[in-house]
């Protein structure tokens, strides 16, 4: 990292050696692609007595529900990543680590998915509460990592493409905060009321995210057209 803390890619007295974010993008695309595909490893043919396969496959429904929720969630994360980094011109060590934080938290989703789907299928009420809390905590962690990334980009407008409006990343940050509250709410509802309600929120949150993608920003732009 240079002394000025903005980039480790500009050698003293020389031009940038290469497009700054190209490897960050290819590495991140790889990680998202693997995470979204690893989810399917949690779907396994049940080991059952001969003749019981259909029944056992149907009994796995929590695994399918968890798979769909997590697939949507990772997909939304990837779309968010794309929307954010399409607007970033330069990185630097700090942004690299914020990005690695997002990848770290997202990479925990297959584990959380596996825990919650196994708990819903085989566990008692206490296990199911544990399962939704684990999944919810990973959701909170993912939201926090995005919050950090968006906050950093809000405060480092110089790293962005010049055409990006000042209000874009604050709006994204607000969306991440809403996600954080959503997952926190799911933990509470799942723990105090019913784990199934938490599952429903886990499914609804990525749908909300998808629908409002850039939506909050559009809304604000309509209100403050010169922002």
């Amino acid at each position: 990292m240079g002394v000025d803390g903005t980039s480790d890619e500009t050698p003293p007295g020389g031009p940038p050696l290469r497009r700054e974010t190209s490897r960050l993008l290819s590495f991140s695309d790889g990680v998202f692609a693997i995470i979204i595909t690893l989810l399917v490893l949690d779907l396994q043919p049940p080991r059952v007595e001969r003749g019981q396969l259909l029944h056992a496959l149907i009994e796995q429904w929590p695994a399918y529900l968890a798979y769909v929720s997590s697939y949507l969630y990772v997909a939304v994360n990837w779309l968010n990543h794309r929307a954010a980094f399409n607007r970033v011109e330069n990185s630097g060590k700090a942004l690299q680590w914020y990005n690695l934080g997002v990848l770290f938290s997202t990479a925990l989703l297959p584990f959380a998915t596996s825990v919650v789907s196994q708990a819903m299928r085989d566990g008692d009420q206490a296990d199911q509460r544990t399962g939704v809390v684990v999944y919810g905590l990973v959701g909170v962690l993912v939201s926090v990592s995005w919050l950090g990334l968006y906050h950093y980009l809000t405060r480092h407008h110089d790293l962005l493409d010049q055409t990006v409006p000042r209000r874009f990343f604050p709006a994204e940050r607000a969306r991440a905060a809403i996600g954080l509250l959503g997952y926190a709410l799911a933990i509470l509802v799942g723990y105090l009321v019913n784990p199934l309600f938490a599952l429903a929120i886990f499914l609804l949150l990525p749908i909300f995210y998808s629908l409002t993608s850039s939506g909050l920003y559009e809304l604000r732009r309509l209100r403050h057209p010169h922002g």
Copy 2:
């Protein structure tokens, strides 16, 4: 997504920030590469008594057949994806989700492959019927996701490279519809007649797809040379 619904990449008053589909392509290539390679995880050395390895490896033949079928199927899906997106100039939120739908359904193939190969090896007739129905349903789902994507591209010619003939994506859509019928037929035949017949159809369908790739379009072009 912009108010006009065509793209979220053009900031107000600015040019496109970057080649629109580059990350969609790199993410999709990653997912296809992982799916096609995960299939091999279903091939495992059998855990048997000493001296029984050869016999046990031969008894795994349904796993090898399922592996070859699914490898061909994922390969054909990737070739289709390449043929389609080589012709796409711009994406947008809707196209992103159609693409994520294709990746979602294709990602279920290793699971379906595992179910059918285990059912053929260890299950009774009922399990085998269940196995081919599961695989067939995933095939139907994959076909439906392509149908949606091709239909969307047929109706949004403005997203395409200008040199793409108007009849290209309708022809692809027809091919997807034939695939849908093929997998539905395999389910019926496998359920009512014999699961082995369904396996044969599962192997033949990707071969058909591969041979007719762009073939239907060529055929139509010969008939309507000014299309």
Copy 3:
């Protein structure tokens, strides 16, 4: 595919839509990267009684040997792939399938590695013979797939970069044929004499490949400087 069979990327009357081989390369790089990394999944901490870990880890030596051999082999395959496709300007449906054939056979290596390392550790002499035959057959299959690809490129010089000498791909084809013979020899020696000898050949063959990479071609060029 066009009527002329060379490429499906040139729409009638239009220029090539995009760099022809870019997605073939990114997909193939993904598959090779996954195969080479999946190999490590065969290395697992042994499940043993407390206090037996060190002993059990040492007893796994065939797994380490198989891992190193297969890592080298996949690495050499990737280097060969890079050397070949750095010289290819245009693809087409046939070349796509030759490439998918190479990826198919290479993707079987983690399975074969797992079979041979388990057989060496837990099996009797018959199992060990089976193991080396399975690994050797996959090696033969990989060699055959390269033979096909090199033969195709030898006969389709028009797909290549103009600066590629006519003798390059015939020399590569000869190298693939030597590999085929090497793996066939390993099967024979492993089956008739001693499976350990086969393991040694499996380790030596990628080393040979690596050392002679472009070596045969250099040799021929020295003899026929105007080739």
Copy 4:
């Protein structure tokens, strides 16, 4: 490889066929992305009696600690790889193999992580010592592979971008040597004193690496401004 040993990409009498390191980068990004994501496969929902999930998840704490340490370590390796190859203009067969050596040793991390986390959870004192020795040896191996790569690049300044200062790679080499000593120290401390101390060093070393990234170089540059 050419007779001069620097590159296999320049055919006799022709220009370089393509950007030299592009496939090395995309393959390496793929491998790092898979390694960092495979780590999560070691986190599995514990198979326990109904009602014991929470307790069992908490008992897995060594797996979480090992996961975090290894995630940081792979992340730092990727950042190092990016920092190094952003400065490389040309490769060649030798550099390819040094790079494959780095990928080989890094790919062993998920295995070592699995061994150490299982030993900390289920093993006795002897197993735990074995576990930290295995992890430490992989850390030594990773450091040695970087040492080799940095040493090679120090001696082949002609492969680098012209703006790279002469002192950059010697400083990186020194950092790799410190890492080697760190992991060797962890082995000693873990074996002779307490495995938990070794775990702490495994967590601290990537943090040290991250903080000093390019730091030693900056330090030297301040002292020798004309280097």
